[in-house]
């Protein structure tokens, strides 16, 4: 059976160009980039190039890019780093209710250390309000951390406006841009972003590599003490091949971004509109505008997410859900609850996330298969009753 992979917000395939760029650095070019000899120097040059590729993709200087092990590490470093270094100035941080757990749990750790965090609400489409943000600012606010684009529903925040507010109040602004980098145009200088987290495996680079952009002038405490790598702030011999792969991956993603995002958005709309038409009692969770090109999220009422995922998987389709059963807890995804879904609707949420390898034929296949799965599960569902259906207009 052919596999249809529509879980690209979870991770993407390493592209062939990326793999080919990496291979020499796993074989003959194995020098330590910190060595003085030619074997080391050739690797150092390749890492320098990757740093420039990453910097060019988001509009900063190479010296402002720090390679890390991924998005979670970057988020942790930025948030806890600012708190540690500037905590004497104030102990208040502003974030949102729909952040990734790497941000939410970093903030929770800081709350235990005496920091106070305001989590901004989002509207039914998953957008924070800049007005709410301004109201939340206090004299002791030191950091605003709000994600660029949401991983579950796709909503893209008004980042430039948020950054403007932060700048006007002299507050640091960090954004978790893990879902946005390589998929949306970003220029950290023009957008006034102070720190930005990214993860390679969301744009066809390997897992285990990411980066943190830190605007020149902001000094974060060292994440790992040791050698002089990453200016001594994040010591340890570089994850050479992956860093080089990430450089190529980001350059390729930016190159095709304009055409690819149009194509993906068209596929996303075809999928969402097709499913909403074929399956009664659904709710579109992905906003119609200001959203990631490839993320399509909807809730299927009266059925539960994990059951849908398992049945899709049996038909070769890989997707994801915000149901509690997929998280190992009793609560459905915090994002689904934050956009105002009741528990039942949140448990029935399902996400298809597309990337450059997805085709229109695959969308057609999902449109053919998924409605029959829903029908089957609804027949099995004790809450699929006329009485309950009548409650939903």
């Amino acid at each position: 059976m052919k596999r249809i992979y529509t879980d690209n917000a979870a991770t993407t395939k390493v592209s062939e160009e990326v793999l080919n760029a990496m291979l020499p650095y796993l074989t003959e070019a194995y020098g330590n980039p910190n060595s003085l000899h030619s074997a080391g120097r050739e690797v150092r040059q390749a890492i320098d190039k990757a740093r420039e590729q990453v910097a060019a993709a988001i509009g900063c200087d190479a010296g402002e890019i720090y390679f890390t092990a991924g998005g979670s590490e970057s988020d942790n470093w930025a948030i806890k780093g600012i708190a540690r270094r500037y905590g004497k100035k104030g102990k208040h941080i502003i974030s949102s209710k729909i952040e990734h757990h790497a941000v939410l749990h970093s903030l929770a750790a800081l709350e235990k250390d005496g920091f106070e965090v305001t989590y901004l609400d989002v509207d039914e489409n998953g957008f924070v309000s800049v007005e709410d943000l301004e109201k939340a600012i206090r004299p002791d606010t030191i950091l605003i951390t709000i994600m660029f684009a949401n991983n579950e529903i796709g909503s893209v925040q008004p980042i430039e406006e948020i950054a403007k507010v932060a700048k006007a109040h002299n507050i640091f602004f960090h954004t978790d841009a893990v879902q946005a980098v390589g998929h949306l145009p970003i220029n950290v200088k023009e957008m006034n972003i102070d720190m930005l987290s990214m993860s390679g495996h969301k744009f066809n680079a390997p897992k285990g590599v990411g980066a943190l952009y830190v605007k020149r002038g902001i000094i974060l405490p060292n994440l790992i003490d040791g050698g002089s790598q990453e200016k001594g702030r994040r010591a340890g011999t570089e994850n050479t091949a992956s860093i080089i792969g990430m450089g190529v991956a980001i350059e390729n993603a930016v190159k095709v971004m304009e055409t690819e995002s149009k194509r993906l958005a068209a596929l996303r709309e075809k999928l969402l509109n097709g499913l909403l038409e074929k399956i009664p009692y659904c709710r579109r969770n992905t906003p119609k505008e200001n959203t990631l090109p490839g993320v399509a999220n909807l809730s299927i009422r009266f059925v539960e997410g994990e059951a849908m995922l398992l049945m899709l998987d049996m038909r070769g389709i890989c997707a994801s859900s915000g149901s509690a059963c997929t998280s190992g807890s009793l609560d459905p995804s915090h994002v689904m609850l934050a956009i105002g879904l009741d528990h039942g609707t949140a448990h029935g949420s399902i996400r298809f996330s597309l990337d450059k390898y997805n085709t229109e034929e695959e969308i057609d296949y999902i449109l053919e298969v998924f409605p029959t799965i829903v029908e089957r599960l609804r027949e099995m569902s004790p809450i699929w009753t006329e009485e309950n259906r009548a409650k939903i207009q």
């Binding site: 997410g305 059951a307 398992l310 149901s323 059963c325 009741d342 039942g344 448990h347 099995m380 569902s381």
Partner: protein, 146 residues
């Protein structure tokens, strides 16, 4: 989260899905909030469970445990079905991931609720058969089984 083959078989090809018209006992447990609802229908003749069917809203484990639990009680005297434990359902399925054990508890509770309903309809006191009242109060958050 990995289910074994037997669990997947009972999820993909669930036994006894459906409703029984004029069932002698019906039990419903769980709630939408925690993501699992099980409804079990029993046909009981001369104290023997001659048919059992279920409808379940929930994850793979919820469907599989409903399927297995109904299989285990069919053809048995209801007193024997009352002895069915969630552990026995899990064992019959060859094991469940730890976070899914509560699904098997729901299956046990659903059967008890259905038999309790049967007993009440017969004018009997479920407590005399060892069924505690309100075993499942649909409040999963305060549930000791979770």
């Amino acid at each position: 989260m990995i289910y074994n083959e037997k669990v997947m078989d009972h999820f993909a090809n669930p036994r006894n899905v459906g409703e029984i018209e004029n069932a002698d006992g019906v039990g419903e447990v769980g709630n939408v909030k925690c993501g699992d609802i099980m409804k079990i229908f029993l046909k009981i003749e001369n104290g023997i469970i001659v048919d059992a069917k279920f409808k379940t809203f929930g994850c793979g484990a919820a469907v599989a445990t409903s399927s297995m639990a109904t299989e285990l009680i069919k053809g048995k005297p209801f007193e024997e079905a009352l002895q069915l434990t969630n552990k026995a359902v899990v064992e019959a399925l060859g094991g469940l991931p730890p976070v899914k054990i509560h699904c098997s508890v729901l299956a046990e509770e659903a059967i008890k609720a259905a038999i309790s309903d049967y007993l009440v309809k017969q004018g009997l006191d479920p407590e005399l058969f060892g069924i505690k009242p309100g075993a499942c109060d649909h409040d999963c958050e305060s549930c000791s089984h979770v």
